[in-house]
């Protein structure tokens, strides 16, 4: 199981109500910003699901 960010649903940094809330919540630094995009760093992810639970756009899931 890996964390997946749906680019269709993700508001990026600009249109996210939490201005990149998942990045701010992730204690492992497994979600980063790259040119305004929200990118997952799978090696760092511990699959705590905090991002899934709190994404205001429900753009993050497990696949």
């Amino acid at each position: 199981m890996a964390i997946v960010i749906d680019p269709e649903k993700c508001g990026k940094i600009k249109n996210c109500p939490g201005e990149g809330l998942c990045i701010k919540l992730c204690e492992k630094g497994a979600i980063i910003e790259e040119n305004g995009e929200v990118v997952l760093v799978p090696e760092k992810c511990d699959e705590c699901d905090i991002c899934i639970q709190n994404c205001p756009n429900q753009a993050i899931s497990k696949a």
Partner: protein
Amino acid sequence: MAFIERNGEEHRSLTHVNEKCVGCGICKDICPTGSIKTGPILPIARGLLKMDYININKDTCCLCGLCATACPFNALEFTLNGANIKDMSEYPQWGHSSKIDSDACIYCKSCETACPQDAIRVVRELPERSKLVSGEISADDEKCINCKVCEELCPAGAITIKEDGPFSHKVEIDEDKCVYCLVCRRACPTQAIKAVCESCSYGEYKINPEDAVIKGEVFLNDESCVNCGWCQEVCPVDAAAITKPFEGSITTNKEICKGESCHACMDICPCNAVSIVDGKSQIDQKFCILCGACTQVCPQHAIDLKREKMNLNNIRSKSWKKQIKKLVTEGTCGK
């Protein structure tokens, strides 16, 4: 701050005070019309989002007052014709409380330091230091060579050499600060200081025990106290007595808990009852009030909360009894 009011046969109002709210979701669980929704509790608790913990739908709220009755934090206030239902004999009353006995308190401030809600203030008046020691001290300005050894050595900072001019100086000893340790006398190269400690040579007969009494007062702020029991636990003289809102148990499933990677439970807990031990979350039942806030935010649904008893008394209505009973469950994992 959410506020709902309606005028019918009587004036009813419901106010949510976010400052007292901890995001436990009890109001959401008990609302019979599903009018209360919790917001993004964890980001709010971490200060990442500025908004209220809960949202009340004004269109569907029937202003029954159940949420205000069930909230153990007084974060919801319900009034009937201007009077708070918490003060009405017809309505249920919480039995949880915190009390600190001022007469038993020794004003050590342990509770003030431990209280996770900053709800305790200890104001104390210490005895005068000079009344707890007894002795005599004097300096001979003729013998003094102004070397300032005594001034530099005095551990109490009681000695100052005052210089009026190049050849005129005076040793000033503050007897309120001096504890007659005799360091100055022993170090003085010209034996200019005469001092004797009576506390050491004659015991403590010269000291009045009343002068050693620490006076004070302890203030417990009921508005911010969450009855977690930290004060009761740390108090060395058992001056604090706490009755918690719920009785039961809470455990973390260490198999699925992500501990340090997440620590959502630790951040939301109003009681400072959660710590990360060996990389996993551990909830100390001594300090937990079973409010369930951690179960609301745990993304791994790893917390098992069992409320067996609720200290809410005087529930007269049968339908209310039925609804309130929903809070006393056989185990819930944040839904």
